[in-house]
Assembly symmetry: none
Homo-oligomer: 194 residues x 2
């Protein structure tokens, strides 16, 4: 039997799954199914094949072995939690909406949190020491409420010299809540004053 293309995809997906969980053990099967764009059943099959324990177990392990926790690529620079980053091409981050992000009169969060997540992800995806946003065009498709998890995907659409066009789409479950197009400039270290 020859190696099938789908098998390659499966192995690659499983490698990615392991990477994601190593960098962030707090991802649920649902998060992973959204990140990897497969059904939740597939994630469970993968986890089973890879002998990766369930969410509760992972959290317990981290909680009971404080020294072990590798913690996320939470660079502090980023709004949200980076779960994947292929510098120069794409990135994914997850933002868990907390009550203090919301407007007092509703449970809806203020738009600039979604913007911040998308903008910082877009900037992080650029392969440059320093990147600054020049122009952005964003659309808030529907309000986001407390407790929801926002998954943002960034994709570099175009690179021209030091200019990048990055498109970010943010989802809650499978619903698009935000779309943004960012024109970002890479800045060389020498160009910075002082």
């Amino acid at each position: 039997m020859k190696v099938r293309r789908i098998v390659v995809n499966k192995a690659e997906r499983q490698r990615r799954l392991v990477r994601f969980l190593e960098s962030d053990p707090f991802l649920t099967d649902e998060d992973l199914s959204q990140i990897l764009r497969v059904s939740i059943q597939t994630i469970r099959l993968d986890r089973f094949e890879l002998k990766i324990p369930e969410f509760k177990e992972r959290v317990l392990t981290v909680a009971k072995n404080p020294g072990l926790s590798p913690r996320t690529l939470s660079s502090g620079e980023l709004v949200g939690e980076m779960v994947d980053l292929e510098v120069g091409s794409s990135g994914i981050s997850i933002l868990t909406v907390t009550p203090e992000m919301a407007l007092s009169k509703t449970s809806y969060i203020r738009g600039h949190h979604l913007f911040a997540q998308a903008n910082s992800l877009a900037v992080a995806a650029i392969d440059a020491e320093i990147a600054l946003t020049g122009i952005a065009r964003v659309t808030f498709k529907r309000p986001v409420s407390c407790g929801e998890k926002v998954l943002a995907r960034a994709l570099i659409k175009l690179k021209k010299g030091n200019k990048y066009m990055v498109k970010v789409t943010s989802y809650v479950k499978d619903e698009v809540v935000f779309v943004g197009r960012f024109l970002i400039f890479a800045v060389t270290e020498e160009a910075i004053p002082q």
Copy 2:
């Protein structure tokens, strides 16, 4: 009203409950109900009165504690300080740039802080209980550094039903650093689910 015997028991039980959870946060309500010889409902009542979160939350807190919650954006309703507001027509706010808004490699602040100031000002300028941003088109004219004061001016350009077009221009001294156009929707209280 005199102190009842049962009240004493209750207070004592709650003190013991706290002690047990302090020494072992991984006790479930069922464990506690067996330790303290009361029903599980009583334990839940006690936890509620003592504002002690549930098992899952406790485990998550312990697991995530190593260096978390870096606080990204101000938690107030408005980003920046409102210095003038004519509801329904215009507004001005001032944002003093602090070092934690900056990228580590430069003194430049990340664009989403300017966006947040402009967006929250635009929303505040609308004469409505609740307003949500629909579309925004923003331009970052030049980077802003630590220590600078950003003055944002919002002007309602157009009102059509519940839709508003607000233009925000932000300055450092007399220099324009940011321009944004926001399409904002006023929402009536009844339209919000729950």
